[in-house]
Amino acid sequence: MNRFLLLPLVLFIGLVAFLLVGLHRDPHEVPSPLINKPAPDFKLSQLKEPARTFSPQEMRGKVWILNFWGTWCVACREEHPLLLEFSKTGAVPIYGVDYKDDPAAAKQMLAEEGNPYAMTVSDPDGRTSIDYGVYGAPESYLIDRNGVIRFKQIGPITEEVWQKEILPRAKQLNQ
């Protein structure tokens, strides 16, 4: 038998393997070029006290999460109760960037539904969010003691992501 007759079968199996892998990938999750790069610096007004600013420089020496959200963002509202739970464990402090939002609406939401953030800053024109390569809120960055981004979650942090991706990394980075 001609061994070339098997070739189409082998190619077909290869194609199926590629397609199977592709099926389980979300095309909306674009890998960030910022992983293992220093978190972009910014200086933004605090949501509660706009006269005071916050900069990631202040977080040197700590492992923390920077979460981009907005009251207009449905997925952020879904994520909100989970963030509250995570913040209560005290494992990793969560800082929020209120992305292109009405500060009054944001303050109201935090007052009514609870505030998981150690602090929230406002990014009214979205420039800081562009620097972080945010393209769909919510997005969260795990930042290490040296201010380097170690992990990015696109879309809500689920229980699974928290347990499997964030906590183990945070533990390791805190050692």
């Binding site: 960030s32 620097d131 393209y135």
Partner: protein, 157 residues
């Protein structure tokens, strides 16, 4: 008469629809037309990350508008197209480029089709060559001739 009028209304509707889109695509009047033109040319090569099958030029997503504002400002500040593309890929990765750069991770993307073409041609060539050898006329050997004669004799007999 009625039919003609109906057609007239239909054509008029088409004119109205298309004039609408033409107005929407015009540059904003208070912007520098030269920069607008440069920006349009550049953003047509860039992908909007929110609606991934749209260019940054066409997308009406909020982020696309912010990025166009950013690009417009950088152009006014005298940045080159290359610098602006570097700015965007540093934040969003090569994914924003509709024309991805040739580097190790994209070798398969760029050269894969040619490799497949060459491999396919080689397989086809070998296959055809083998096939031709199989069907080419070769004189029968003495043994074969004897067997053929025997078969013929039996058939007739």
């Amino acid at each position: 008469m009625y039919k003609v009028m109906k057609r007239g209304v239909f054509l008029w509707a088409i004119v109205l629809v298309f004039s609408g889109t033409m107005i929407a695509k015009e540059a904003q009047p208070n912007e520098d037309p030269q920069i607008e033109q440069r920006m349009k040319a550049l953003t047509e090569q860039l992908r909007c990350l929110v609606c991934q099958n749209e260019t940054l030029a066409d997308s009406r997503a909020d982020l696309a508008e912010d990025l166009r504002r950013e690009i417009r400002e950088q152009m006014k500040a005298g940045k080159s197209d290359q610098e602006i593309i570097a700015f965007l890929t540093a934040r969003y990765g090569d994914f924003v480029l509709y024309n991805p750069p040739v580097k190790r991770i994209t070798y398969l993307l760029w050269f894969g089709p040619f490799i497949l073409l060459i491999a396919g041609t080689a397989v086809l060539y070998r296959y055809l060559k083998q096939r031709r050898e199989l069907i080419s006329d070769q004189p029968l050997s003495a043994d074969e001739r004897k067997r053929a004669a025997e078969i013929l004799r039996n058939e007739i007999g």
